[in-house]
Symmetry: C2
DNA sequence: ACAAATTGTTAGGCTTGCCTTACAATGACT
DNA sequence: AGTCATTGTAAGGCAAGCCTAACAATTTGT
């Protein structure tokens, strides 16, 4: 079901999802600003996402997401969050770099790897002493 | 010093480096087989790497690496190894998936993130009980 | 040494993803 | 309603990366 998307299209989808959830709608120009690309590029991306039936969209039309699109976006965001937690809370990177790194890796990891990161997060939450020990180790170097 | 390269060019560089170190020479066709791309694509990539002064190469010529090229390749390989260790020994993925994942992420992470992964590896080697605990946790789920 | 196989290059094509420029549609203000 | 700013689209261009097909150079085998 989950068709493979390019990193770029996943980025667009993610932004659309987040915007709709926050403000209940998105305009092409919002996406363009968020991703720092031209409005023309957004236009193209929307066309491609609509072709793949991940969003509902027609010329000058309101943007909405299909179920398929939502599912896909949620999966990407889930990966993002697991990675962000890992890099920030476990590896001790600052939020900025953790976020940037998560943004790139989220398009790469498989379902299986996501599960591992999620497990690691759960493990860390129930056993915070292990990560503490690692951070101490880093400081002492 | 370290000029930015695309993931693709880093892959070529890595293969060239590994081949030369193993067999003392590389041919375009070796690279083509290793990366599963056409010989034509290799030709283009070699031209681009030579332009960037990472390899020494001319028409029908032997391929050798410049100091700059070696340094860059070694850095990528260092990232690869740190990631491979992480995914295989710490996260418990099988070697195959650990390798594939490392291959993609190696092009993404910063020097800083590399250092973290390296530290985690050292930490894990001196304190194997922490990772053991995590693996146990995974098994019990 | 010469034919056959292998290897490397070139040319031309395709897709993705970006850009700019110019134009079309929409919205907001008076 | 008319004007102006904003927003969206279309057209045309560019680079990276890949491809195939045809051709050139090199190597191999006898």
């Amino acid at each position: 079901m989950q068709e493979k998307l390019t990193s770029s299209l996943e980025d667009y989808l993610e932004v659309i999802y987040n915007f709709i959830n926050k403000n209940s709608s998105v305009r092409a120009v919002d996406i363009s600003r968020e991703l720092s690309v031209s409005r023309a590029s957004v236009s193209e991306a929307l066309k491609r996402l609509a072709e793949k039936k991940l969003i509902n969209y027609g010329r000058y039309d309101v943007i909405s997401m299909t179920e398929e699109g939502k599912k896909h976006a949620e999966k990407v965001i889930e990966k993002h969050n697991a990675l962000q937690y890992f890099f920030e809370e476990i590896m001790g990177l600052d939020g900025e770099e953790a976020g940037q790194t998560a943004c790139k890796i989220e398009h790469i990891i498989s379902e299986n790897v996501l599960e591992k990161f999620t497990a690691l997060k759960d493990f860390h939450k129930t056993n915070p002493e292990y990560a503490e020990e690692f951070k101490k180790y880093c400081r002492e170097k």
